[in-house]
Subunit: 366 residues, 2 copies
């Protein structure tokens, strides 16, 4: 009994909680498209399994899998992970799944944004994306929860973060790009976020991570760890193209307050050394007209900010860069003294264009 | 968290309840194969919608729909019916869904039989049937319930009835057919049923309904209404090929007792006048090599026994044969004085080879 609602979360007293609030569980999608994941998706599938199994130690995980891969995925996953059939165009549950909202009575609802593969016919990453656009509805149907469905407003879950306490954070590079909602002003976009996330203030970073193919999603550069507390992807190398982007974000956040008037506590986490696609990796990807190519030497938008906060744990991408991997783990352990920090080597995920936060979507406990 | 169990329901204290016991809800599959359902499946879909909406007045209904038809089905169904994606080879949830079992603590589990499209390569009704054979697992995964999976034992849910109190009823025509489990003796088959349904006695009717393409499933000729109480499809016309089949069933049941020593109370329900496929109906079905043809003049295995017992209601197929339709409704109202008897014109369902009981599967409340 999933009803499509005509009102808004704000009107109904629902808000998007912080990711650090209690979860019922986590949703993921099984990767399989061979024009994005090398070697038939097999290395990525192993990485997704590692992420799913790590999260499943802390909360329920549901893996959504196409019919083609259903039995193979069940075989590769332990039986404490729920496997449900769901068609998809790729594996980015953060961006195609529902944004869950809750009220004070413990009810949970979904928000079903319009999805256009990060840019539609302007600069979308593949075509078509109709199956991805149905994922949010299907998740809500399985869970029997009502949902708000925006007919035309384009947004991906990775382009927003909420502190659950009145403030959201986004990037101008993504939300104001002509490939999303070109007919809406910044104010109109902000008002839509205020209505559907039920926040009073939206923080607008200028940019995200250099070369991030999502038009620089906010979830790859910062992460809310608690109201008023953020991690920020950083580099000390002033010659790195990432430097001016992170510096601008730092300066902006240092001079802003959130909806509750808090000064923001910013924890810099240094990005890893450059992650470049190797010849072998590039050659494992099917070359298809209309899908973003994966070429040898391409720099990936690798960032530790793309972690997932589970109940009692943080699932953190690692890149085999010992120095920065360790720094990231240490910083997060200080921010989250009561949570396990679980690092997972995530090269195979970043090769597909995102990371652990991009492939997960938390369902709050309500 | 749906674990595949290595034991048996009997060993674990689980039993198959009677259909008349309390339900959590009902599962169905959306019909769409154009080589079985005429006119692209549209008339059948309307009939399935009527059945789903009727049941949904009394208990939750989940409709499983392929990706191709997902959005169309959502549009045709009211929002109180849950719609989940599930690939399939056809729409017979009774036969491909799990057989649910319960214990005294209110736990529910599934039994996942091997499915071979009613006869595999011997006399199966279509090829392939791999998607159908995955349906039981997928339902258990969605519901997060553990299940028993039989690696090789072939059975369809429509070929068994349970009184929930130690007795099951089947037909020899189906269960002993060489197309199901040719390497097992009658005794071995009976022992498997005793283990997985947790019954002490199996009643073996010789036959089912004349021309029933399932090798004469028991659910088209009799229905348990309560322990010791059965309806029996009947005809007074001694020249009808159905007569000797129903007569033999009546004689057998009249001389048997159930596991608890009860004499059986048998309520005859006269079958409808012959249902023959019209030229127009036949011409609406795609003719495909390997799928049972639907030819003009073919007699359908129409029977009122193929009803579905929902919480507080009985959903009964009608055939536009006023006399027998009314008789069936009256008889069932007497057997079930406290339930609504809801008749649904089911010609479009019987044209596909089954009826309301065949397209539904109850999930007990536990």
């Amino acid at each position: 009994m999933a009803n499509k609602l005509q009102s808004t979360p704000r009107a109904d007293g629902f808000r998007m909680p912080g990711e650090f609030e209690a979860h019922k569980g986590c949703w993921m999608i099984w990767p399989e498209r061979t024009d994005n994941w090398r070697n038939g998706g097999k290395p990525a599938q192993k990485a997704f399994v590692e992420v799913a199994e790590a999260i499943a130690k802390y909360e329920e995980v549901t893996m959504c899998v196409s019919q083609t891969q259903y039995m193979a995925a069940k075989e590769m996953l332990s039986s404490n992970i729920r496997v449900v059939e769901m068609s998809n165009d790729d594996a980015w549950m953060r961006d195609v799944g529902p944004t869950f909202v809750v009220n004070d009575q413990g009810d949970v609802r979904g928000v079903d944004w319009r999805f256009n593969a990060w840019g539609g016919l302007v600069d979308g990453l593949y075509f078509p994306w109709d199956k991805d656009d149905q994922v949010a509805k299907k998740v809500c149907e399985i869970e029997n929860i009502d949902y708000y469905s925006l007919e035309s407003f384009v947004l991906e879950g990775g382009s927003i973060h909420s502190d659950g306490d009145g403030t959201a954070i986004v990037t101008e590079a993504c939300l104001l790009d002509e490939s999303r909602n070109p007919d809406l002003s910044k104010e109109e976009i902000e008002n839509t976020l205020k209505e559907y996330l039920n926040v009073d203030k939206v923080l607008w970073l200028p940019n995200g991570i250099y070369l991030d193919e999502t038009n620089e999603h906010v979830d790859n550069i910062v992460h809310y760890c608690a109201p008023g507390v953020l991690t920020l992807a950083w580099t000390d190398d002033e010659t790195d193209p990432q430097y001016p982007l992170s510096k601008a974000a730092f300066d902006y956040l240092s001079n802003e307050k959130d909806a509750k008037g808090r000064t923001l506590e910013i924890h810099k986490i240094h990005i890893p050394d450059e992650v470049l696609i190797t010849k072998e990796e590039s050659e494992g990807v099917d070359s298809v007209d209309g899908t973003l190519p994966r070429e040898e030497g391409d720099r990936q938008a690798a960032s530790y900010a793309n972690f997932y906060i589970a109940n009692n744990a943080v699932i953190l991408p690692l890149f085999g860069d010992e120095k920065h991997d360790n720094q990231a783990q240490e910083t997060l352990q200080k921010i989250f003294p009561d949570r396990d920090i679980v690092g997972i080597y995530a090269r195979e995920i970043i090769l597909g264009g995102g990371n652990i936060h991009c492939i997960t979507q938390q369902q709050p406990l309500g």
